[in-house]
Every structure is written in structure tokens, then in C-alpha cells.
Amino acid sequence: MADATRDPVTGTITTGHEWNGIEELDTPIPRVVLFFLAVTTLFSIGYWLLMPAWPLGVTYTKGLLGIDQRQVVAEQVRDAAAERASWTAKLGKASFAEIAADPALMRHVRDTGRTLFEDNCAVCHGVQGKGGPGFPNLAAGSWLWGGSPEAIAETIRVGINGTAKDTRTAQMMAFGRDGVLQREQVLAVASYVRSLSGQTLDATEQARVPAGKEVFAANCVACHGEDAKGQHDLGAPDLTDANWIYGGDLQSVVNSIHGGRMGHMPSWEGRLSPTDIKLLALYVGTLGEAKR
């Protein structure tokens, strides 16, 4: 190998390697790169000293600052709760009527309630609370278990057909599948139910209504009531209004009667604090306001 020589064009020392007349310059590493290498090395040494860094068997170097991210987050959550306490304390103690009469508190209900609702409730009930197939509309004022803030708060707390011990339970029997009603009876009562909410029926359906009325009186009134307006303490829906959870066309109503229904709403106790549940109950109550 040839010795390192000085390149005549650039004046830089070469590495001494030579391939077919091509030589390689031995350019030194730029100063700025070495500078940043030194700075970042010093920074990392400082960081190792100050912050938790190295594992040592069952423990680790705790760092001179004594920072523990678990404590940090616990403190931050506590501080945030303390900040909100200016109004959450009031909200927790006041009755629903008192809160509804207090515009300042209701502003918090609308702001915070919206976030809570979107995070927890909106995937089923929709951002505007209008529900969808199988998920009740909360903005229509047609309630299964009562629309007072107290009733809504209780429904949120225990859920419906949920896992909580005192959950609300409601089940519509599978009248067709379990053989309680024959096919003609199911069709007849479906047509009768549709007539209750003032839907336009064709001649075939019209003819079935009187027979359906008898079937209804014998099988359905226990839960839905003689006037078919439902009962809040049984979770039985009102059949005379325009709101349908599972659809109000003939096929949907027949499906509901044939196969029964048993909706499920999870219990939120434990996942949401009592104040959050109270706040949500009031917020859900405001969902229908936009319509009115």
C-alpha cells in the first residue's frame, strides 16, 4: 500500500488507498458533528443522573429529581379534580331541580356533558342522541324507563339487562318462536299495533286490525298497558307514538313479536363517578330541547 500523500487539487491528505488511479481523501469529521456528539453525550449523562434510567435487577436508578410518572399523573388528576371542584361540589350536592334552575351550573352541564356523552354514550345513541336501529332515541322524549333526571340517572347507573345486581330488567317474549301466538295472530296484532300510531295500512292489514285488537288485549296489555302507551316501571315502550327502536314497518314489528326483544345497556356505575352520572342525566334531558 502506498503511503498517504497530499492531494494536489484539494490539499487534503489521502488515505493512501489507490484503485486504478483513484485515491480517497481522508477528510476529517466536521467539527460541528463532533460538537453535537459531545453535547448530546453530556445531556444523556445529565439525564441519567436526574431521571429514572437504568434497570438494576428488581429496582432501577431513581434519579436525583425523584420523578415517578405514576405519582405525576395521580397529582395531575387530583389537581384537575380540585380545579373542577368549584362547580362539581355544588353539582354533587344540589338536587336536579336546583341545578336546572341555575344557569351557570347548566352551562357546565352542557359543556362537560357533551364530552362525557360523546366519549361514552354516542357510539350507540349517536352524537345528537337520536339513536339508531336497536338503540333508543334520547332526543324524542319517548322514554322506556322514565324521562325525569332521577330516572335517567338511575338507568345510567344500573343499566338495562346489565351486569349490575340491581340492574333494570325487561324482556319481550318471543311470542312467535315460542309458540304462544300462531302466525296469523302475529300478523294481526302487528297490524293492530301499527294502526295505533296512525300509520297508513293497506286493505289486507286493515282487515286484520279487529282480530289483532283481541290478541293485543289477551297478550300485550300486561306490559304495554290497555292504552298501549307503555309503562315506565316495566321498561315497556309506548306503541302509539312515532318512535320505534327496532322499526315500525310491518316486517320489523312482526320480527319483534316473533322473536322477542331484550335490549342491553351496560351499567355505568364504577366506570363513571356519581357526579358524572348526574351531569349526564341532565345533559341527556337537554338533548330533546333542540327539537322543541
Partner: protein
């Protein structure tokens, strides 16, 4: 020219190979050494349950469909995450996750505490077409989960493989894996009682996809999603202690 150490080293083939092995072993050591003491560093959770065969099958489908690419299962120690999702994740909660599915990217939300948050019917509707229930969702449809029958005959071997890497499945659990998978999704069948017997009363036994007679991939996925964050109360207990 002065003969630097490195100049000498790179001219010796064996010496240089040994040097490369030595340097690259540092990275491996830093990753592997903490595992030597993992038995002492992971929190204790005596109430920790194992995945049932049906939940494990759902977990395998979760991996197959690449759900982890958009959903994390790791609530970090940050205020916004703790306030939105619940108590931060503990190491012990992933104790029986082989491999772990913490994920590293959230196109969808974190689902570490999803279990019990929504109804089975919602999960089914949402997996068939997310936009039916969440109009602004960008999640793909997974309608075939409802059409595909769940393959159960190899579940015993899956349990066995999990046992080989440290999940304490019993011989009875392995022997009954296929029938337990069927029983967990068919509450009225003769196989249902064995599931609670072998996996504890807290196990969800119900027709997850809404069709009791048929065991579909939907049953498995929903069973898995409904048990996320529910295998132990350790994180909730820790959060309660931290508040005091």
C-alpha cells in the same frame, strides 16, 4: 501515520468479527437483562383470570385481522388518557398476553378497558359496518366474522401452546377447550355450565353474536372484546389507593 487501535482492529478478520459481536450484544443485553427479574418487577394480582378458549380464539382473530395496527391496548400514565379511558395499564394485566398487543398507534381509540363498556349487539353491528352506528368512523367492515363458523378443533392445542409459555391452563381446561368455546356462546346448552366451573363465575357466558345455536368468529371476537381489562381488578385497586 500513527497506527490507531481501530486501524489495527479492522485489519484482523477474527478480531473484528469478535468486536462486532461484542458491540451488538450490548443492545441485546439491555433488552434482555430486565427480563431476568421480571418475576419480581411485575405487580401481583391473585384475582387474575386466564382467557377462555373462546376469548383466546377471538384474540387470534384480532391478531389475524390486524386490529392492533389501529387500536392500542395500553393506557399510558398521562392525565388525558387516565381521565378518558380509566386507570393506566399495569404490567400484570398483560401477564397472559402472548404476544402482547399493546400496539403503538391509535387510528381508533385505545381499547384496554373496553370490556363491558358497550353491549354485545353494538359490537356486532359495529363490526359488520362501523358506519351503521358511528357515521364518522373510518374503521373497515368485518362482516365475514358473522358468516364464518369458528374453527374450534385446534383450540386445545392453542391452550397447550399458551401453557408452554407460562399461562397456567389446567389439563381439564385443555381437554375441554373445544366444548368450552361452544358452551360459552350457547348459554342454554349442556356445555355452558362447564365454562363457569373451569374459568370462574365472572366469565361471560352468553350468545355474543345474538345467535345461540351457531358458533361464529363474531362470537369469539365479541367475547374477547368484552373481557378486555376485566381479567383483574388490580389497576382499579391501584387507582383507588393512589387517590387516598
Amino acid at each position: 501515520m500513527r497506527e490507531f487501535f481501530h486501524r489495527k482492529l479492522e485489519r484482523s478478520a477474527i478480531g473484528f468479527v469478535l468486536a462486532i459481536i461484542g458491540v451488538s450484544a450490548i443492545g441485546g443485553f439491555v433488552e434482555i437483562a430486565p427480563l431476568f427479574t421480571i418475576g419480581d418487577t411485575v405487580e401481583k394480582a391473585p384475582d387474575m383470570r386466564v382467557y377462555t378458549p373462546l376469548e383466546l380464539a377471538g384474540r387470534n382473530i384480532y391478531i389475524r385481522e390486524g386490529c392492533y395496527a389501529c387500536h392500542s391496548q395500553m393506557i399510558r400514565t398521562l392525565r388525558d388518557e387516565v381521565e378518558r379511558y380509566g386507570p393506566y395499564s399495569l404490567a400484570v394485566e398483560s401477564k397472559y398476553d402472548h404476544p402482547m398487543l399493546w400496539g403503538s398507534k391509535r387510528t381508533g381509540p385505545d381499547i384496554a378497558r373496553l370490556g363491558g363498556k358497550y353491549s354485545d349487539a353494538w359490537h356486532v353491528a359495529h363490526l359488520i359496518n362501523p358506519r351503521d352506528v358511528v357515521p364518522q368512523s373510518v374503521m373497515p367492515r368485518y362482516g365475514w366474522l358473522m358468516r364464518n363458523e369458528l374453527k374450534t378443533e385446534d383450540l386445545g392445542r392453542h391452550l397447550k401452546a399458551q401453557r408452554a409459555v407460562g399461562v397456567p391452563y389446567t389439563d381439564a381446561q385443555i381437554a375441554n377447550a373445544s366444548s368450552d368455546a361452544y358452551g360459552q356462546a350457547s348459554p342454554d346448552s349442556a356445555f355452558a355450565s362447564g365454562v363457569s366451573e373451569r374459568y370462574g363465575d365472572a366469565t361471560n357466558v352468553r350468545a355474543f353474536d345474538g345467535e345461540p345455536g351457531r358458533l361464529t368468529e363474531m362470537d369469539a371476537v365479541v367475547a374477547y372484546l368484552q373481557v378486555l381489562g376485566r381479567l383483574t381488578d388490580a389497576a382499579h385497586k391501584q387507582a383507588a389507593t393512589a387517590e387516598k
